[in-house]
Amino acid sequence: MGRKLLTEHINVEGIHTFDVYRKHGGYASVEKAIKTMSPEEVVEEVKASGLRGRGGAGFPTGMKWSFLAKPEGKPRYLVCNADESEPGTFKDRYLMEKLPHLLIEGMITSSYALGARTSYIYIRGELLYVLRILEKAIAEAYANGFLGENILGSGYSLDLHVHPGGGAYICGEETALLESLEGKRGNPRNKPPFPAVWGLYGCPTVVNNVESIATVPWIITNTAAEYAKFGIGRSAGTKLISAGGNINKPGVYEIELGVPVEEFIYSDEYCGGIWKGRDMKAVIAGGSSVPILPKELILKTTNGEDRLMTYESLSDGGFATGTMLGSGGFFVMDDQTCIVRHTWTLARFYHHESCGQCSPCREGTGWMEKVLHRIEHGHGHMRDIDLLVSVAKQIEGNTICPLGDAAAWPVAAAVRHFREEFEWHVKHPQAATAPGAVFNKSESVLA
């Protein structure tokens, strides 16, 4: 059983309340940071821990903090990105619902490090019930002197507010999130300037994912050196994995980075194997944006090494034969899954969520959805398969924000690894559109 750093007490009765959370060591990082460390020392500690952004990009958190501009006379902001919307990902919701004070503690310690006087948690609008849990917990933190004026008599003051979004995946992109927080449409901004210089209301701002901020208390309380002992190399610490799809035990698992993928899928400690006694066909390992991999490539790299749950191992082989750890949205497909239909739902998702600002994304996502729809529904042509690849290629890298890449990668990867299945849909439209029909490789070879 791996060590849990974030979720050790998650099942303790009443842990969502201040008193119980405090009794289990909660808010120790605030006391330690405010009373014994300078803000710069907190930043250095997070830098030394090797913590990488847990929202998906994996950029070192301490490094991001150190870029924050500090011009005279301008407030600085910390904004928590709780707009968790990447299909397959539900770890932040779980964490906030069960351990609201952990996020609040992380926000206070991090805000102190960054010199923020006001901070926001931007939570996706669909999670209004979680917003109410957080607001209750914030009120408790105020009542106990951990928020508001002169925290613990230190002279440091902080206000923390929760802000609901309105239903838009794009607001998980940090500059779109800031636009949205300013009361506008969620159109990503051109960069530079980056939020560290020009963020919320034109002020220097750091935007961090829920899980990243929730990791800060452990690092500060137990030191960076202790944190770095977990994980492997540049994949330090633990990671929350949202496990879903056709497995026996879906849920959120905190793993030490480095667990073999095979163990994660088949061990009873985690996913518990494939449901209904079926075989595994494919996995999307890091949220819907990352490339899908067939069974043989998700379990082993092309060098024959066991694939591990780390940033490096999952991306071994590049996009040709590898994928990404991303947000840790890990979902498994059994042998009855139609890859074409599944890819179509993802393309539809990205089409729906494109903000419409850049033409390659606005037009390309709709185009890919349309082509996938016709292949799935028995009206496809062979040339459509290469058309998908070509459209994906023309979106990738040609947009203001990464939504374009996120839309292109899953389609390109599905064709890369499951081209035969697309061809079968085109060649045998009647068979492919029959209810419950699934491509069977061996039959296809005979045909």
């Binding site: 932040d92 009361g183 969620g186 879903g244 999307i284 739902t345 903000c355």
Partner: protein
């Protein structure tokens, strides 16, 4: 002017206004527009699950901004219904991870039960059926959302029970007692 007359007919309750004032206090004095999404959520809960042009005009008035600034936001974010809806809006997740766990079948089952298609309202006015994209509930799919509540791990029997429970439910607003 007709426009002004209809805006004047829109009245938030005292409970809703208190919520609005609470949100306004979260943002700098010269950045009150930030409260637009929270206020639209309050408006939608206050006025029967949708926001009419008159309601949006009222929101603009509260924020002291142009109505177009509210329209462009309300039409961008998918949570705001711009047309009247039934007593309950069923928002069924249909993205890949939920599809793997049976959302296609759940949608079909609900269409049959309610006698209406996705995008329509049942004849008794109780339910509007919508499909939405990923609700961050992938481990517990298929699932759907009604206002702030998630209904997860749905099979036909559980979905039918949910419909019965919802029919009998008295809808309360977040700032009301017993919410």
């Amino acid at each position: 002017m007709e426009q002004t007359a209809s805006v004047n007919q829109v009245q938030f309750s005292e409970g809703a206004m208190a919520e609005i004032r609470r949100y306004l206090s979260h943002y700098p004095a010269d950045r009150q527009k930030s409260a637009i999404l929270p206020i639209l959520h309050i408006a939608q809960a206050e006025f029967g699950g949708w926001v009419s042009p008159e309601v949006m005009d009222k929101v603009a008035e509260i924020l002291n901004i142009q109505p177009i600034e509210v329209y462009e936001v309300a039409t961008f974010y998918t949570m705001f219904n711009l047309k009247p809806v039934g007593k309950h809006v069923l928002e069924v997740c249909r993205t890949g991870p939920c599809m793997l766990r049976g959302s296609d079948q759940l949608i079909e089952h609900l269409e049959n039960r309610l006698g209406c298609k996705v995008g329509e309202t049942s004849a008794d006015g109780n339910f509007t059926l919508k499909t939405v994209e990923c609700l961050a509930s992938c481990g517990t799919g298929p699932m759907l959302q009604v206002r702030e509540q998630f209904y997860e791990d749905l099979n036909p029997a559980r979905a039918d029970q949910m419909l019965e429970d919802l029919k009998a439910l008295t809808v309360r607003k977040p700032w009301e007692e017993n919410y």
